[in-house]
């Protein structure tokens, strides 16, 4: 057995007092494909950033090629021979393949960039990974996603990388493009390059890796030999958490009203053939992996990136949700996941923030009179805790900001409420307040859709859960389904395997 290429021992990392990684060990051998799996927020990305030098670990040691290392930035790690292929590509679309591959270290002759050598060496690298047909002088913007990824990988190889980190490499690829990536990864193995393969998709992990490390809540749960592992076992390791928090009671059958929202075969750039029904009084959870189309669904319903195919009806009447304004008119409200960027205007007061939507669609003056009085009632109803309505909203806690956003929408009397990650960045105490509000709104007759990447929240809050995968609905689960079932649907492991 060869000497390990990379050895991590006891890696720990905290951000602003929140523990993200704790005591993580990991080992990669030359020519090995080592997969790292875990739920959203398990700490995979942070771990990869530590290995690639973007973050320094708070605790623990990194050993690479037999010597302990402390990397000061990505450049340092690159020089040592660690390449990383990011989920979002780091390429310049206006430049050629060769110019991208050698960016920052262009070969020179007599002080000038040696274009000939650059093109030749790029061609050689492309040939070495079996992509010799790709002309190195092509503009990257003209290439498809799959080939851009190859350029990204070749860019890492140009550094003589001995370890290549691939972060969700198939996230951007279509199914038929995945095979090419597989071939490439196997070639890297033949060149004795170690690969750290981060993925949600268990099929790939089983196809490619020799060992699998499971992370959960910032800790390493286990490392197994792929040959001896089963999908069901992995899913249990990834989830295996106890339900501890309290959730409001679910709707009883007689609390459920008529069907309020129907989507038939809705599709756009990110969604395909999505059909669902939502009843008045019901909380429908939407689960799935990041990029599976959860937010895209909410944003399509709110007219931000509208459906381009399919049909939507509200209370039996067909509606066209072409813009947020149209959606608001149709009685839909959307609480965004990006509160800072899309939810609040940081420099405005609590009252002005709460008035935004009613001022925008309501008739008449922007004044404070009756409309403001109504908002004040709503702010009281959501139990806002603020120094006053004229306080700038940025000084409020995340939970209270979220309540203001909610009051803003309630002022319009919405029939359908879309929540995208309603408790992201909100402390535990305020979380249950938000959960209570969500349930109260449903009880008052609203139809509620909740997108959440937190499984306990998703399952605890919803009356029913649909799981998205690759822009399609992968399945539907009843209230109280086990977390494993959600994960199994989300990653595409079969039900038998998960059971």
């Amino acid at each position: 057995m060869s000497e390990p290429l990379l050895v991590l021992r006891g890696i720990g990392k905290s951000f602003l007092g929140v523990r993200v990684l704790e005591d993580v060990d990991l080992e990669v051998r030359p020519g090995e494909v080592h997969a790292v799996v875990g739920e959203n927020g398990a700490g995979k990305s942070t771990l990869m950033k530590i290995i690639s030098g973007a973050y320094a670990p708070d605790e623990g040691t990194v050993e690479f090629a037999g010597a302990p290392r402390v990397f000061h930035g990505p450049r340092d790690a690159q020089r040592a021979g660690i390449g990383i292929v990011h989920q979002e590509f780091n390429l310049l679309p206006e430049r050629t393949v060769a110019e991208n591959v050698f960016l920052g270290r262009e070969p020179r002759r007599r002080g000038l960039v040696d274009r000939g050598a650059m093109l030749r060496r790029t061609a050689a690298l492309l040939a070495s990974v079996g992509e010799g047909s790709l002309p190195p002088g092509t503009r990257v913007g003209q290439l498809g996603v799959a080939r851009q990824q190859i350029v990204e990988i070749v860019k890492a190889l140009a550094l003589d990388a001995r370890l290549l980190i691939m972060d969700e490499p198939t996230a951007a690829l279509a199914d038929h493009e995945v095979g090419r990536l597989y071939a490439l990864v196997r070639r890297l193995q033949q060149h004795n390059i170690g690969v750290l393969y981060v993925s949600h998709r268990l099929t790939e992990v089983f196809d490619l890796s020799s060992r699998i490390t499971v992370l959960k809540d910032g800790r390493r749960v286990t490392t197994v030999n792929t040959a001896q592992a089963s999908a069901g076992q992995l899913v249990r390791h990834m989830v295996g958490r106890e339900l501890s928090s309290y959730y409001p009671e679910r709707a009883t059958p007689d609390e459920l009203g008529p069907v309020r929202l129907t989507v038939r075969a809705g599709g756009n750039g990110k969604l395909r053939g999505v059909s669902l029904q939502l009843r008045a009084g019901e909380v429908l959870g939407v689960g799935g992996l990041r990029g599976a189309g959860r937010s895209a669904l909410a944003r399509a319903l709110f007219g931000i990136a509208p459906f381009t195919t399919g049909a939507v009806t509200i209370d039996g009447k067909p509606v066209r949700l072409r813009s947020p304004r149209a959606a608001m008119r149709a009685g839909i409200a959307y609480v965004t996941e990006d509160r800072k960027g899309e939810g609040i205007v940081a420099g405005l007061s609590v009252l002005d923030n709460a008035l935004l939507a009613s001022r925008a669609v309501g008739p008449g003056w922007a004044g404070r009179g009756a409309r403001a009085a109504r908002i004040r009632d709503l702010l009281a109803a959501v139990e806002l805790r603020a120094a006053g309505e004229d306080q700038e909203i940025r000084f409020l806690s995340g939970g209270n900001q979220q309540k203001v956003v909610l009051a803003r929408w309630l002022a319009l009397g919405p029939r359908i409420l879309l929540f995208d990650e309603p408790t992201r960045g909100i402390d535990v105490g305020s979380k249950s307040a938000i959960h209570d509000l969500v349930r109260r709104l449903a009880r008052d007759g609203a139809a509620v859709l909740v997108v959440s990447s937190e499984l306990p929240e998703l399952l605890g809050l919803s009356d029913r859960v649909v799981v998205l995968r690759d822009g399609r609905i992968a399945g539907e689960l009843p209230a109280g389904a086990p977390e494993e079932d959600v994960v199994a649907l989300a990653v595409g492991a079969t039900r038998e395997a998960a059971g």
Binding site: P74, R75, Q78, N90, L91, L92, P93, E94, R95, T96, A98, E99, L103, G104, R105, E106, R108, G111, L112, V113, R115, G116, L119, G137, R139, G141, K155
Partner: protein, 324 residues
């Protein structure tokens, strides 16, 4: 072949040259019908002189814009450079080189300041360079009421008025500087890095490019070009002129020329060849309107329309490219 094809200039659309040829052809036709001559030696010479001054500034502007920045202080740098050059020379040929050297040094210093404000202090380039421009304006307005200093006669004779056939030496200087800038962009690491910083600063940084250093260098080069334009104008006018830069609208016109030439204001794409085309287009329109004795204000209106139309065409193309 591939290396010739992959020069940065390759993506400079020939659009601006087509527009230039069309403009000159139509202009020639209209002027001829009216009984004038567009391509007589005097009009050609004056067209090329206009192009030389604006072109020197615009080539420098191209560099900062490709890098994703902008320089709105160039007009004041031009004025200041004429004054520094003419006052140092004091009408003596012996002081020619010190005058040129000092003018360039002062310009480079301003460029360095611009660059450090933009990269070090992270001030938006628009604000930083307008601020520096206003400081220079204060100095110029306070110190000078009118022309000052006297340019060395040899400079006036050579760069100011000498020409080879109908081509002024100053225009040849512009071509030389443009060729040098093109070479820098295409064949040096600095050039490659500059285009990368303008294209996506994050990508450049992760690829090991030292963004700050690259952008500061671009700002120094831009100011140097403006300083060179000032030296040329000092040769042309025979003295230092505290308002020549602003009256010539070198700040906005240089940006207009760059944009007409196909360089994206957002940076990362474009080239010097297009800028030279843009400069010739603006100078050509100027010459045609002068021949037709068009009202000066109306002239401005037409120029505005042309610039907006050109940018609209580019935006349209960019959108189509993004969709495909």
């Amino acid at each position: 072949m591939s290396s010739a094809l992959s020069m940065p200039a390759r993506r400079t659309s020939p659009g601006v040259f087509v527009a230039l040829a069309l403009t000159l052809a139509i202009g020639w036709l209209v002027v001829t019908i009216q009984g004038g001559r567009l391509f007589s030696v005097p009009t050609t010479v004056s067209l090329l002189h206009v192009a030389a001054g604006l072109g020197l500034v615009a080539v420098g502007q191209t560099l900062v814009i490709i890098g994703g920045s902008l320089d709105l202080s160039v007009a004041y740098v031009v004025s200041l450079s004429t004054l520094v050059a003419a006052e140092t020379m004091g009408g003596a040929d012996a002081a020619l080189l010190p005058g040129i050297g000092l003018a360039l040094a002062v310009s480079a210093g301003i460029g360095l300041l611009n660059g450090l404000l933009v990269t070090g202090a992270r001030i938006n380039p628009f604000i930083a360079t307008v601020g520096v421009g206003l400081i220079l304006k204060g100095y110029l307005d306070n110190g000078y009421d009118g022309p000052a200093g006297k340019t060395a006669p040899s400079l006036v004779r050579s760069l100011g008025y000498q020409r080879i056939g109908p081509v002024p030496v100053s225009f040849l200087l512009l071509l030389g500087v443009a060729a040098a800038a093109w070479f820098v962009l295409a064949r040096t690491r600095f050039g490659h890095h500059l285009i990368a910083v303008g294209g996506d600063p994050e990508v450049a940084k992760l690829s090991g490019v030292r963004n700050g250093r690259v952008l500061v260098t671009a700002h120094v080069l831009c100011s140097l070009c403006a300083g060179l334009a000032g030296i040329y104008l000092a040769g042309r006018l025979g003295s230092g002129a505290p308002r020549v830069g602003t009256e010539g609208l070198y700040d906005l016109e240089s940006i207009a020329a760059v944009v007409l030439g196909g360089t994206a204001l957002a940076g990362g794409t474009g080239g010097v060849a297009g800028t030279v085309g843009g400069v010739l287009l603006l100078a050509g329109i100027d010459a045609i309107f002068n021949q037709l004795a068009v009202d000066a204000f109306f002239k401005q209106v037409i120029r505005g329309v042309i610039i907006i139309a050109a940018v609209a065409v580019y935006a349209q193309r960019a959108r189509r490219k993004a969709v495909s």
